[in-house]
Symmetry: C2
Subunit: 329 residues, 2 copies
């Protein structure tokens, strides 16, 4: 059986903070990121690619709002907006990947799947929305939108200023169609799935599948998929080449290799940024504690350089520290 | 080998002209339409479902325009808008279908795929845009948009009034990933694909796959898929239970059974509405002349009643006229 890797592309892999979000920028970022996964194919990995949708779904929600205001077009609920973003981003990744593969003379099918993810309708997240989406509003805009649309907001940090809409971010319970994803991936097709953490759904008391107005953390959903399809490696691509403990403090420490218990300890000590790195660490640990061999957190354009990246394994001995050469696989 | 059917859902199967386009309307229409395909599963068919995106992609394009005007969010090109619509509509069909299947105690996987479709960049359609998308504009709005965005417009009929944006509608040449679609469909998974006729792409002189600013006719793309995967039947669901020759004239004639040559003759005599039924007839004939056994054009909520629907076969003898019971399959 060939090896299988799940690669979660962060927002940064597709669209950088400093950019305005044009399609040309997104296509170039995506191409550059995807060039870094070629080495995995050359090393014999089958691949499943997942991706975030933060900036894109925020834009889609705002466009729905603007379309209703300017032209009276009914706005779509959040689940449709997430599904729209899976379509647009998934297609862009698929096309860029086919071009990257062609450049490297690699012949593989690429398949983009819409993905629903089951959540618990009683998840505590539904009474405590925490996931920021869309643009930043002034206090006055916020007041109007709260009244008109019933949206919930949270203040940004003092330095950033303003308010952003927050929606619930329930935990993923099951990636739908994971069997089909695994089967096709193990046949050599590169699968793009679980975009934006998947469209959140739940089963009601009649057994019907219903939409949920929420956004699932894409790293947690990707970790769950990696576990369900028994992947060997789980990559989380972000905007830093290493994880740091106590970033930007006197005790800042770069972390290249981590075992499970030390990572858990750092996490309990809140050594990772709560809204930024901590969720990625939790996703990485979830994969390891469910039997996955290694989670790697690194920068999207550094993936192909093995001297970068924080590698998390159950025991330190599980990783060959100097060569990043995992003979046990 | 089990029988295989391709079912192309028209705009009407998802959203009716008289409706404003809310998600609740779309979900109910979709559910009602999908209940009508259950009999095919019970008769032993594997299924591929395709769908239009006329009203939806028009709305997405308008929302992009409104988002740029109101909030300065960069607008996405047409290929991304089509891909967005594949995501949102595909997800909605997938979820509704799972609920319909559950209601009928049928256990099948359902898989929604993003689909790119190759077109010829030198297709004459690119110099003669003819496909209407999006809302109707006044003459003044049209003038402004022509100047600001370089869009092309066509006048609506006198009774409707106003102008609509037109984009090129090139002929489909190849459905990408048709092998994967066939393989998974023949394994019993119900596939949703080729949404909105697929995202049009072409291969440039360097071998790179590039996006095309166009919309492919979804019936022609569906006929091509049906041919490529060697489907037994091709259903085109629309808003009338039968095809009429010379509709709304003194020679109006309802057509229930048609052979290839008579259909071709009617087509040559322009007996079918140019912008409405003629393209569907062409798609139906394309499937038959490529070896398909039967194309059926009918109303989405009449599909399960075999006394409705226009059935097109190569020879009249190919259809059992009274029982619609195709023993040769």
């Amino acid at each position: 059986m060939e090896k299988l890797a799940v690669i979660a592309l962060g927002g940064n892999a597709l669209l950088r903070d400093s950019q305005s979000g044009t399609i040309e920028e997104q296509e170039q970022n995506t191409f550059d990121t995807l060039e870094n996964i070629i080495f995995l194919i050359e090393e014999g990995f089958n691949l499943v690619i997942t991706h975030g949708n933060g900036p894109q779904v925020g834009n889609i929600v705002m466009r729905n709002d603007a379309g209703e205001q300017l032209y009276g077009i009914p706005h779509m609920p959040l689940d449709i907006c997430v599904a729209d973003s899976q379509g647009g981003i998934g297609y862009m990744i698929e096309r860029m990947l086919l071009n990257v593969l062609k450049k490297h003379n690699i012949n593989r099918n690429v398949l983009t799947l819409m993905t629903m993810v089951e959540v618990n309708p009683d998840d505590p997240a539904f009474s405590n929305p925490g996931k920021r989406i869309g643009k930043t509003f002034t206090e006055q805009e916020k007041e109007t939108l709260q009244k008109d649309k019933g949206w919930t907001f949270k203040a940004e940090t003092k330095s950033k200023g303003g308010y952003r809409r927050v929606v619930p971010s329930p935990a993923p319970r099951k990636i739908m169609n994971w069997e089909v994803i695994e089967k096709n991936a193990r046949n050599g097709t590169i699968i793009i799935a679980v975009g934006g953490g998947g469209v959140p759904v739940y089963t009601d008391e009649n057994g019907d599948i219903r939409a949920s107005e929420a956004v699932i953390d894409k790293d947690l959903a990707s970790a769950m998929l990696a576990t369900q399809i028994k992947a060997d490696r789980f990559y989380i691509l972000t905007d830093v080449p290493f994880v740091y403990a106590n970033y930007d403090t006197q005790e800042q420490k770069v972390l290249e290799f981590l075992n499970y218990s030390d990572t858990k300890k750092y996490l309990d000590e809140q050594a990772f940024g709560e809204g930024t790195m901590a969720p990625k660490i939790k996703a990485a640990l979830q994969f390891i504690e469910s039997g996955g061999k290694m989670s790697i957190i690194t920068e999207s354009t550094k993936l192909a350089d093995k001297s970068y990246g924080t590698k998390i394994t159950m025991e330190y001995d599980d990783a060959d520290l100097h060569k990043y050469d995992f003979k046990k696989e």
